[in-house]
Amino acid sequence: MDGIHDMGGMHGFGPVVTDDGESTHHEPWEVRAQVITLLAAGLSMRAAIEALDPATYLSSSYYERWLRAGEAGFVGRGIVSEGDLARWRDVFEHDALAQPPISSSPELVAMVAGLGPAHFEPATDARHSAGDRVAVRRMRPPIHHRCPRYVRGATGTVERVVGGDIVPAPPGSDRVVEPIYTIEFSASELFGEADHEQGSHTVLIDLFERYLEPAP
């Protein structure tokens, strides 16, 4: 979906505030909220976070978005109920000593300990090669995807054929593996001649083959 999360190139968010520059989060619960939702969701929360109401997305902090998306997603899938959540919130609100129940699962711990990097499959049937000129399709996919709007319709050059990977798709879809390419675009192709920037740049982004077509 082309949602509020797709903010590359937008104006209006002000300067980058780095504070001490080093903090990764504000409060202890935050990383825990991310881990809980990651584990319960089977390690993919992107679609659920993107489906948050846009005003909620923008007014929530980063880990709050994970929490809200987790709650909405798990209730939606029937993993927990609104009643469960309300009952436990009530417990913790009224009993300052209360803590969540404690459980153990050697299998789940082993799964976490065994998590490794993503692996690509060979892209043996890749349609494009390094150096090819390609254009990003103009589209508006209603489902989760990884092709931001700021590259739509733009023409760039294949910098590298990355490998084959599973195309993002709604739960229950067939597993489709497709080549991914790193595409390099000039900034002027994406954003025009920006008189406010001293000097040029390029943007490189990894795109599935289905997002691309040969350059016109």
């Binding site: 976490v112 490794g116 092709c147 943007v203």
Partner: protein, 225 residues
Amino acid sequence: MSGGATAAGGEPDQKQDHGNDHGHSHYDSPASRRPRSKMELRTMALEAALVDNDVVSTDAIDEFVDYLEHRIGPHHGARVVAKAWTDPAFRERLLDDGTAAIAELGISGPEGNVRVVANTPEVHNMVVCTLCSCYPWPLLGLPPIWYKSFAYRSRAVAEPRAVLHEFGVDLDSDLAIRVWDSSAEVRYLVLPERPPGTDALGEDELAALVTRDSMIGTGLVAVSA
């Protein structure tokens, strides 16, 4: 001018105070200074309900949190950079296949399919994830707050020089900038340039110079005065 004037509001993450008191307690203890926030209560409730329903287990949560908070971080990336500066063969392997090269140093894990891109006198590299928060966890740990901010996500691809200026980095206009938007499963690490005058330093001393920002591309490595 950069992102345009804004009135009121501001980003939720950027406007908060934060004490940064990461202890080993999962949640703020009853003895802590401030009462549990609403979001903390909701997180506790979500954990309780999911544990109660056997969807997740406490020890798996603890294991993953401990990994993210204490067992990964920019010191891993700094080791890799320092080795690349001192070992030309490793540097070559690192730029050719980042994932395999960092595994030589025992560095691996989720979000660790890595491509390393090298700064040169002609090219400066900079990494962003416009759609969410993709980041090379095993090498850099969790991303800093600003990396996940709407300001950085929206502006890095369109006006990197203005963004770099806010980090105190002003590059020559004839230097080419490559901005890497991490939209698939590759995670990018910038190999910064080795500062001049460091020939006498060993790997550990060099690693101590390497900042997190220099490996994201929003900083340069300098010899401390």
